[in-house]
Every structure is written in C-alpha cells, then in structure tokens.
C-alpha cells in the first residue's frame, strides 16, 4: 500500500454509460510521481483503457477528464484540466487542455481523473458529485449550443455545478468538435465528437473534497509572489493586446499562413490587427478562472454588421455581440481564408463557439476547400478566398453536416482523400490535424515540431517556434544540429501540460523547470529536481509515441504535406524560403536518435512508460 501524496486524491472514477455503473480505482503513488497529472497522467490512463486499433467512436473508446496536483491550489493559472481520447480526426492520441471552474469542481468530486466509456441509450447529462454519479436525460438539451446547454444544466442543478458540454458539431460527429466549458474550449482533435458518439451532451461536476498541501505556508507565499510577477512586463503582451498581436509581427516576417498556405503575407492584415480593431470595435477583457494574467480580449461586433447565418440555437458565452479573439482563430478564419473584414472574422469565430468547432481545423479545412474550388476540383462556386458569406455558410453546413459540410466535417485529410486529383498535396494537416498559424517553411525548427508531434501539427505540444524567433538558429535553414532545442521546448510543454500551468507564464520564470519543480515540491512534498522533471518529460513524450505505435503509427506519418516540401514561398519577406524532404528527414532522424528511439522513430524500451 503506497501513501497518496498531498495534492492528490489518489484515485480515479470510471463511469460506464452503457451499463450506467461507476466505480473508483486507486492511482499508485509511483504513477502519480512519474506522470504528474493532466496530459501526463492522462496518457498513462489512456494506455490502460484503449484497446489496440479501436475506433474512437466505438462505445469502448475511453474519454478522459484529467486534473492535476495544482488544480484548486492558490497558484495562478492552475484551474486547468486535460480532456483526452483517441482522436477521431487523427486516429492518434489527443490531449486537449482547457481552463475553467470545471477543473476545480471536477477535482472536488474527489477524483484525480474521470474516465468515461460506453454509450448512453439516449442523450444524457452525466452528473457527478462526491456522493453519487447520476445519468440525467438530456433530450431537451440536444441541439442546443454548448453555452445554452450549460446554462440550462446549471439552472436545473444549481450554480455550484460546473459543466463541460458539446454543441451541435459534437452531436453530429464533426471530427474537430470541441468540448466547451465556461465559454472556453478543449478545442483540438475532435473530443467533442467523442462525447457526441456516446450521446453524452454534458458532464456536470460539483464537490467539496479538498486535497492537502505538503508546505501550505510556503505555497501561499510562493503563489503570492507568482501572482505579483504575473502582473509584470513578461505578460504585458497577453494582458494589453492578447495573442492577436502576433498578426502584424508574423505578417512582417513573412510567416503568416495565407490562402491555404499559398502565401505567407496578407495584404490586408492591418484591418484585422488588434491595434486597428481596438479603434473600430469595442473591446473588453476577461480572465480564465484563477488567473491573474487576463489574456482574453473580447471584441464586440459592429452595430451595423450584417447578421450571420445562425446556428439552430444561438448562445455565446460573451453575449450576442462579444467574441473572444485569439491569434489562432484570427489567422484561421481571416488570412488563411483570405478574409479581411473584421466583422466576418468575428462572426465566424462566434459561429464556431456556438456550434462547438475547433477554429483552426475549421478554418484550415475551409481554406483547403476554397483552394480546391478555385482549382476546379470541387464544384462549389461560392467557395472562393475572401468570400465571407461563403465562410459563414460553410461553417454552418459543417456544424450540421449538411451539403458540402458533410465532407468537410471530416477534416482536410479525409476530405482530400475523397476529392483526390492531387489535393492531398495541399491539404494542410499532419496526422490529420490542421496546422496552426506558423508557416513551417519560414520557421523550420517548428517544421520539425509539427512533423513529429504525437497529436499532429501543433503549437502547444511543441514550442519550437520560440527557437526560430531567436538568434540560436537560422529559421529559414533547417539543421539537424537544432533538434535539441526543439526537444527542450517539447519537454517543457510536456511538464507544463501535466502540472497543468499556463504557458503564458513562461516569461516570468528565470529557470522554468526549477520553478515547476519547486511548485511540485510545495504541493506534494516530493524532493524533486530539474533532472527528474527532464526524465518525466522524456517519459511522457515517449509514452504518447508508444500509444500511437500501438494504434498503428508508421514513420511515414512524421512528415509535412507535399506543398511544404516542394514549393518555395512565392513572395514577401520570406520569398524563396523552402524546405526539402531530405532536410526534414535529416531533422526527424536526428530527433528520433536524440529521443533514444530508433532512427525511424520506434520506441526501443517501452517498459519505462508503462
């Protein structure tokens, strides 16, 4: 019998929707130390609960909500949780993080994780408290937006409940549907569709079970100091302008994906920039739960903006006119689709919120379809770059799986396989996950991060773009010598995503790993150092790779679409930038060897990740 460390409950809850049974299982202390929580612990749990080769929509496929030792602590930005499953978009591991009161309430149910398997006979709201697990009928919630559904559940159960729910995209099994909570989204990889496949409209949690801290007085002092630092210049960008301030920077450097990655500069970028929109549109700020940074910038639609095609049931966490804007939804629904009208981008973002669509994959898939239509590969005349009405209408069709939306609801990879005619070469994905707003030919360390990412093309699990934005490398010239730097960012993300801590805090730490080790020590009492955290990060990344191998991964998946390996950037500040298959392959091989895997990426010793 091992002792559960402070910060943990030492158990997880397993709910079977088919049998309507639930039970709890212990979490061994050594597993907690080796995988921490969040993304790391979720990977370990998913290994135990995923039969090889399972269909992500099969009843036996597991959906996880995973908390962490930092949740409900006084540490700023720690109200986070991981949603995990085998992704229906990538068929690979997916961990999608979110930040809201759901994390705090979920942990207070007395569990470090909630695992859901099975399939309900009819739409269901799962209601979890420390005393019970209930299966409430949710027929009246079906077809509501996630926000409206959440409001309805809280009206019925009380405000002490916090809710994760899906919109119509999740109900309709759109492969990039989100899990919404308090207006935030666990966005990537289609985990909302996994909920939909289980007829699970919502999960409501409440509780009063607290965990202890090993060094409570020191933790409070540390937390106060961290909160004070979080008000400082290191986070000013996020606080004053938000992530949308990347837009003009990326545009000037010629690294802003435009018109489905055909270009890397957008002539109308100024119209969409926060510096401009702050003048033309009312803007307010908000914060995640338990966060002192306040990075959310809510832009309000112009009063004279035309109405958008409506989702069947409207509902926005920020009111009818308020839309939270981040760089990723701005780039994906703006320049990537050739859209320069700010109100159209706001409408599109709002529609994604209401339907529960990942904005990156939605924008990426529609931009791909626009290029197909312009090339005559798809007979949808209105789909043209820059056509805002077509963007809004196509989002609605995707959410409802109607018309062309049924094809595009499966993402750019599957759509390109249906369309054929060479369209696979410019479908903007890795392993099925659409690329975020970092042009890989102009950020070639990031190109490696995209190619080897276990959940696909992803800027949250690899922060290698930070290396490209430095004097450590030549961002236009990939080198195998740079893979260590890419691995450092991937390892750092693995730890931050397991603690779970907001990456926007990165700049406040002099030594990030040392700071994270200190936080874990104060909460759990572990005598843990940076060397152990590095080992933990390696273990988590390798565990994810091992999971993927069991699900059918092959080395051929670790690559980029042909466009990026055969075409140079045509014009602008990065004109001529190119990346070859051989150069990328050399990076990948160096990466695999540095990870301790075989040259083509197979894990040599799986015993360490069990």
């Amino acid at each position: 019998m091992t002792h559960t460390p402070p910060g943990y409950h030492g158990r997880y809850l397993h709910v079977d929707l088919s049998t309507r049974q639930s039970d709890t299982h212990p979490l061994p202390a050594d597993v907690l130390r080796r995988f921490i929580g969040g993304s790391g612990l979720g990977t370990w749990l998913l290994q135990q609960h995923t039969p090889d080769g399972i269909d992500p929509f099969a009843p036996d496929a597991a959906l996880l909500f995973v908390f962490s030792p930092l949740v409900s602590s006084p540490l700023t930005t720690s109200a986070k949780f991981a949603v995990m499953a085998k992704s229906p978009l990538t068929q690979r591991i997916n961990d999608s993080l979110s930040s809201s009161h759901f994390a705090i309430a979920g942990k207070k149910t007395g569990n470090d994780a909630i695992i859901i398997t099975g399939k309900a006979e009819s739409p269901t709201c799962l209601v979890i408290s420390p005393e019970s697990v209930r299966f409430d009928p949710a027929g009246d919630l079906w077809r509501l937006s996630s926000h409206r559904a959440s409001e309805r559940v809280r009206e019925q159960l009380g405000k002490r409940f916090h809710v994760a729910s899906i919109g119509q995209a999740g109900e309709n099994l759109v492969r990039y549907a989100t899990v919404s909570n308090d207006g935030r989204h666990a966005g990537r990889g289609g985990l909302g569709a996994v909920m939909g496949s289980k007829q699970l409209k919502a999960v409501a949690v409440t509780g009063d079970r607290l965990t202890t801290y090993a060094h409570p007085d020191e933790l409070i002092a540390y937390s106060k100091d961290l909160s004070r630092k979080s008000f400082g210049p290191a986070t000013a960008k996020y606080r004053e302008l938000g992530t949308v301030s990347n837009l003009l920077t990326f545009n000037r450097l010629g690294t802003l994906p435009t018109r489905n990655f055909q270009q890397s500069e957008f002539a109308d970028a100024e119209r969409l920039a926060p510096e401009t929109m702050s003048v033309t549109h009312e803007r307010t700020r908000a914060s995640c739960a338990a966060c002192t940074i306040g990075c959310e910038h809510i832009f309000h639609l112009s009063s004279d903006a035309p109405p958008s095609p409506r989702a069947t049931a409207r509902g926005s966490a920020h009111g009818e006119s308020g839309v939270r804007m981040e760089y990723e939804n701005l780039f994906a629904l703006g320049p990537l689709c050739g859209i320069s009208d700010p109100d159209t981008v706001l409408r599109a973002s709002q529609l994604c919120d209401e339907l529960g669509l990942d904005t990156i994959s939605a924008g990426g898939t529609i931009a791909f379809a626009m290029e197909c239509a312009e090339r005559g590969l798809l007979d949808v005349p209105q789909l043209r770059f820059g056509n805002g009405d077509a963007l809004l209408q196509t989002l609605r069709l995707i959410g409802h799986r109607e018309g062309i939306g049924d094809l595009l609801a499966d993402g750019s990879r599957l759509a390109s396989q249906q369309i054929g005619q060479g369209s696979e070469d410019f479908a903007p994905h890795v392993k099925g996950l659409e690329l975020p707003g970092y042009e890989p030919r102009t950020l070639q360390t990031m190109a490696l991060g995209f190619a080897v990412g276990t959940r696909g093309a992803d800027h949250n699990r690899s922060g290698a773009y930070q290396v490209d934005f430095s004097n450590q490398v030549d961002r236009l010239q990939a080198s195998p010598d740079d893979v260590r730097l890419a691995i450092e960012t991937e390892n750092e993300a693995a730890i931050m995503d397991s603690l779970i801590l907001c990456k926007f805090l990165r700049g406040v730490f002099d030594d990030r790993l040392a700071a994270m080790a200190e936080m874990l020590h104060l909460i759990t009492g572990w005598d843990i150092n940076t060397a152990e955290l590095q080992e933990t990060a390696d273990r988590i990344v390798t565990a994810k790779k091992s999971y993927n191998i069991r699900q059918g991964w092959t080395p051929a998946e670790d690559t980029l679409p042909q466009r990026f390996l055969t075409q140079a950037i045509p014009d602008g500040a990065s004109a001529g930038a190119s990346l070859t298959k051989d150069a990328l392959q050399a990076q990948i091989q160096a990466y695999n060897l540095a990870r301790g895997w075989t040259p083509d990426g197979y894990v040599v010793d799986e015993s360490s990740v069990k």
Binding site: S245, G463, N471, L476
Partner: protein, 87 residues
C-alpha cells in the same frame, strides 16, 4: 546610416508610433538614438543598453540580433517585437 525602426505589439504601444527614421550604424547606436527620440519607449524596453528579455530585435525580417555592435547598413529595417510569440 539612415535606418527605419518598426515597432510591433507592446513595443509599438510603448513607442507610441509604428515606425521612426533614425541615424545609426549599429544596434547599440540605434538604442542610444531611440533613448533620445522616444524616452518613454526606452524606459519601458531597454535595460542597461540592451533590449529587455521580453523583446527581440530583427534586421530586415531575416536575422535576429542581440549584440550592440551588430552593424546596420543604410536602408536597413530594424524590427522590435515581442519575444513571446505564443498563440
């Protein structure tokens, strides 16, 4: 040497302008010139003659530079931008 300094994000907020033309033949000389022309920017962004860690300098959209002695050429564009480009 006449060069153009372009500010992005928070650096632009602190400068109060998007661009400015200055005379400078090195990165250090540019910072010194900006201290006189845009003192509020310098106070917010410069520490002991160097950019604070939350900012980056780039020449002509191509090369990131940190060394004060880095030579600047006639017509160069010096970009000042946020060091954290997470999205």
């Amino acid at each position: 040497m006449s060069i153009t300094v372009e500010f992005f994000g928070i650096a632009r907020q602190r400068a109060g302008v998007a661009t400015i033309e200055i005379e400078a033949d090195s990165l250090g000389a540019a910072f010194d010139e900006l201290a006189g022309r845009l003192p509020q920017w310098s106070t917010a962004c410069i520490d002991d003659g160097h950019l604070k860690s939350t900012f980056l300098a780039n020449v002509n959209s191509r090369t990131f530079i940190t060394n004060r002695s880095h030579r600047l050429n006639e017509g160069d564009h010096l970009l000042i931008l946020a060091a954290d480009v997470g999205g």
